[in-house]
């Protein structure tokens, strides 16, 4: 069993009002060293199969077709073997 950990983030050119609000919240708590906050999504996929190479290709396709919208979002992912996280 493999697990794909997909991270989807707004592209740098896209405004992220959630990130701005969280940054303000952190600043008001005294965490003034935070210069920027970007909010994205964390998606975990359990995958059948044993070939990591094949899993990478499949997850890449999933991201392109559904999990991320290329107009506004970037994505990256890792594949880990279950139990080894």
């Amino acid at each position: 069993m493999m697990i794909a950990i997909v991270i989807v983030t707004p592209k740098p050119v896209v405004n992220d009002p959630q990130g701005v609000t969280v940054k303000q919240g952190l600043a008001s708590l005294g965490f003034s060293e935070v210069s920027d906050v970007r909010m994205g999504k964390y998606i975990e996929l359990k995958l059948e199969g044993s070939s990591e190479h094949e899993a990478r290709e499949r997850v890449e396709a999933m991201c392109r077709q559904l999990l991320a919208n290329h107009v506004i979002e970037d994505f990256r992912f890792d594949i880990v073997r279950d139990g080894r996280r």
Binding site: P10, V13, N15, Q18, T21, L66, N69, V71, I72
Partner: protein, 234 residues
Amino acid sequence: MKFGVVVFPGTWSDRDCGWVVDQVVGAELTYLWHKDTDLKGCDCVILPGGFAYGDYLRTGAIARFAPVMEKIGEFADRGGLVWGICNGFQVLCEAGLLPGALIRNASLEFRCEWTNLVVERTDLPFTSRCAEREVLRVPIAHGEGSYFADPATLSRLEQRGQVVFRYCDPKGHVVPGANPNGSLHNIAGIVNARGNVLGMMPHPERCSEAELGGTDGLKLFRSVAENALKVLVS
């Protein structure tokens, strides 16, 4: 003239649109279920507002894979009129029938209020009953209506005159203060290059009877009712 109103699980403006088509305009109406694979001879397909499939993942992200969407894509390719309102606009962008995307309002608030829209195209089947640069008063109700497109796409939209509606002040001036959601260039609605697929965030179906506070939305419904047959014949 027959309108088809698409219903996804989670759509909630379908009956409002259907009411205007059927009871106010007096055109033929049919509802299209998301699993339908036949558009039942409609001359114009409306994708209404709501939260299709709960808008899980992103607004419209799951809805674009509904069986009915494949037929709507083919219908649009043939020149058929497709009109996305609010969530319908979001679905059309996700489906690639319109460029760009709708993201979270800059204020992070769900905005439910009246807006003013300046009409920048009156040569379209959707707007032929509007006057040049007429200001329409139409309500919005959305949390994710901030229009975004990359700079190249945005300048292409502007050059080709694909911006149909822009948020403006009551006198028709497009000013930042009139922008309720942070949309780039105050964009409230766009059309595809061919002019047969329109997406808009404001709700014309909610201002098509005087009892609801305004009738500006009715101009769009009447425009479509008048033109849909001509479009398909030509």
